[in-house]
């Protein structure tokens, strides 16, 4: 990599640079600093606007609850929906990525990759409309079946929602939305698996699956974890799909198939904000701050895992 033209030599105290260089380097640096300022601004303005809600007495808050009592069901709903999405999407994404990297004929593999990427290109509002208009009614049958046969598991206790606007469906929609993100990371990781190991495994007479188990999956484990974390981060912050699909009642429950569900932080903001005023706005912004911190933690963890991996693979 190149760096600054000039380096301190013992003799020239102030190295000569062209005016254009100073201006250009300065503006590039300025842009970088601007990003830091913007981010500091995000934190500062959110804190400023959340502050009234943090210090207000419980009696003035919506529902006359203390702030934590207000946010907790939302946080619960956020985590639950994201978790469902993660549990469904991760194994699926790994299979899809394997299919593209190791099973599909090489000629069409790239095209299939584009198809999966198209899933990521669909705007979230479209997923929301699709979720409530198509997926929800279509999954009523599935949920009834789950309730009939697996109803003894609290997750499927029912009573089953007639519209299908349940936590399970919201989770499914989120799963579809994060599938391409996890797939993209997984594909990258699988393609990086050392070819030599793969060929050695095949040359020893391993079947394709044995080769994948021996040479591909172990190599990609931490990459897969971080991909899943990135997907989780996305699912936590996803707004419209949940806002449109879920029918909410503010309860805290693990029942995934009934019509009484906790909302998510993001969806709650989208639903309440347009009508909110006064302290209500501050409360919503405070909840947004909580969401920000949660996604931040998840993303940091993902980055940490990725970076650890790159250190490892660098050593190899």
């Amino acid at each position: 990599m190149t760096t600054t033209e000039v380096t301190p030599t013992p003799r020239t105290a102030r190295p000569v640079t062209q005016l254009g260089d100073r201006v250009f380097a300065g503006s590039a640096k300025g842009a970088g600093i601007l990003i830091l300022v913007v981010l500091a601004g995000v934190a500062a303005f959110l804190l400023t606007e959340a502050f009234p809600a943090l210090v207000a007495p419980a009696s003035e808050l919506p529902g006359e609850h203390n702030l934590a009592v207000y946010i907790w069901p939302l946080l619960f709903g956020t985590l639950l929906s994201a978790l469902i999405a993660l549990v469904i999407a991760t194994p699926l994404a790994i299979c899809v990525a394997l299919f593209i990297s190791h099973y599909a004929p090489r000629r069409i593999a790239q095209g299939l990759g584009y198809l999966v990427d198209l899933l990521a290109a669909v705007p979230s509002i479209v997923y929301g409309l699709w979720g409530v208009g198509v997926l929800a009614p279509a999954s009523v049958g599935l949920m009834t079946w789950l309730n009939d046969y697996l109803g003894w598991i609290p997750l499927f206790a029912g009573p089953v929602s007639a519209t299908g606007r349940t936590m399970l469906v919201a989770g499914l929609v989120l799963a579809v939305m994060i599938l391409p993100i996890i797939t993209a990371v997984a594909r990258e990781v699988f393609l990086q698996a050392p070819r030599l190991h793969e060929e050695a495994a095949l040359a020893l007479g391993a079947t394709r699956w044995e080769m994948i188990k021996m040479a591909v999956l172990p190599f990609g484990r931490s990459g897969l974890i971080s991909g899943a974390m990135l997907g989780l981060g996305r699912a936590l912050g996803e707004t419209m799909a949940v806002a449109i699909v879920l029918s909410v009642s503010g309860v805290v429950t693990f029942n995934l198939v009934s019509s009484g569900n906790p909302s998510s932080i993001a969806a709650n903001i989208a639903l309440q904000f347009p009508e909110a005023s006064g302290l209500g706005v501050n409360v919503l912004i405070a909840s947004g701050l909580v969401l920000f911190l949660v996604t931040l933690a998840v993303n940091m963890l993902a980055r940490y895992i990725v970076n650890r991996r790159s250190e490892f693979s660098g050593a190899n």
Binding site: G20, A28, V42, L46, A104, L129, L236, T295, V298
Partner: protein, 366 residues
């Protein structure tokens, strides 16, 4: 790059296979299933399941699912008997992995089909030329929302492209040391900001400047900028890193100053890649709903001034038409789907443009 079937074959069955003598790892020479077996089993499963379902009550979804399940089981059993456990597991995994890909394609196809079939009804000239001012029932269109989306996205692009590109240039060409590290780290942080939080930020910012309850197009553009900058930085950074150092040195050696080398040599060399990245970034944010819902709101008429009051945008228009329809409901729902369709078309077009750009520029960079 994928390990296609061809490679598997050449490696395992090549003429002069020089295998180490480890007989336990070699497949036991048992029988192999003849080539067409898989198809035969598949058709048989489909027929069997179809027959059973015809008796108990038919449903396409169930038919497909049960066929695949039966196919997997039958393949496994058959292969286990003829070829042994290892081959059978291999075949089972192949079926599962392929089926997973099929499952992943279902929502894509379903979404596309739903949006097109529901949206086509109002995909007419009126939709693109009329706003909703004074419209209560049928008719009307999203002219105002389309303009709003273009204005807000355009503003966001105008702010984030220069900032993002300059930052990437700083990181790749100038940055060393702590500031660069900090920027890299916080760009990562920014990548993870939920879109609704970006909307809240824009609102909070303008609420402090203008006063509470503010809604304006520019606030939406600021929110989208926050979401777009990290994407632009990342993709531009990747592209700049690809440019070989030799070109920079060749330019320096001609006595070209560094800033000109970057502007005239480095960036043009990878312009296609950068343009692709930027196009995809625009496609990402043009469909954002949540931040605009918060910072911009909605109106029924055309508003071309992003600094004054609410503006309509396509995603928010679709959202409100769907969740808060008037009476009768149908025209509102139709308009919601058509707005979704238009949005999809725009996004797909941007994606296609991005691919074309990257194709057109690819070979020149050696």
């Amino acid at each position: 790059m994928s390990t296609g079937t061809e490679r598997t074959d050449t490696v395992t069955q090549g003429p002069e296979l020089d295998l180490p003598a480890s007989p336990d790892l070699l497949p036991k020479a048992k029988g192999t299933l003849p080539k067409g077996t898989a198809w035969g089993v598949f058709v048989a499963s489909a027929l069997v399941v179809g027959g059973i379902l015809a008796a108990t009550g038919f449903s396409i979804g169930l038919w497909v699912v049960l066929t695949v399940v039966l196919f997997a089981v039958a393949t496994y059993v058959l292969s286990r008997v003829v070829e042994g456990a290892r081959k059978a597991t291999d075949r089972l995994v192949t079926v599962v992995v392929s089926a997973a890909f099929g499952v992943a394609m279902i929502p894509l196809v379903s979404v596309l089909w739903t949006v097109v079939s529901n949206g086509i009804a109002r995909f007419d000239a009126q939709f693109f030329t009329y706003s909703m001012r004074g419209v209560v029932g049928e008719g009307g269109g999203a002219y105002h929302a389309i303009l709003g989306t273009l204005i807000i996205t355009g503003l966001a692009a105008a702010m984030s492209i220069p900032i993002g590109m300059l930052t990437a240039v700083y990181l790749v060409e100038y940055g060393k040391g702590r500031l660069a590290k900090a920027i890299t780290f916080f760009v990562d942080v920014m990548t993870g900001i939920p879109s609704i939080v970006a909307g809240l930020f824009a609102y909070a910012l303008f609420a402090l400047i203008v006063g509470p309850g503010v809604r304006m197009g520019f606030a939406g553009a600021v929110a989208l900028t926050v979401l777009m900058i990290p994407i632009v930085v990342r993709s531009t950074e990747e592209m700049l890193k690809i440019v070989p150092n030799e070109l920079r040195e060749a330019s320096y050696a001609l006595g070209v100053p560094k800033w000109k080398t970057i502007l005239k040599i480095v960036i043009p060399t990878t312009a296609g890649g950068i343009a692709t990245g930027i196009t995809l970034a625009i496609a990402r944010v043009i469909g954002e709903t949540a931040p605009l819902l918060i910072a911009v709101g909605i109106t029924t008429g055309v508003n071309l001034n992003p600094f004054d009051d609410r503006m309509a945008t396509l995603p928010v228009f679709a959202y409100y038409s769907y969740v808060a329809p008037g009476i009768p409901r149908e025209p509102f729902l139709d308009r919601a789907w058509t707005a979704a369709l238009v949005l999809m078309v725009i996004v797909m077009l941007l994606n296609i443009i991005a691919r074309i750009i990257s194709r057109a520029f690819a070979p020149k960079t050696r």
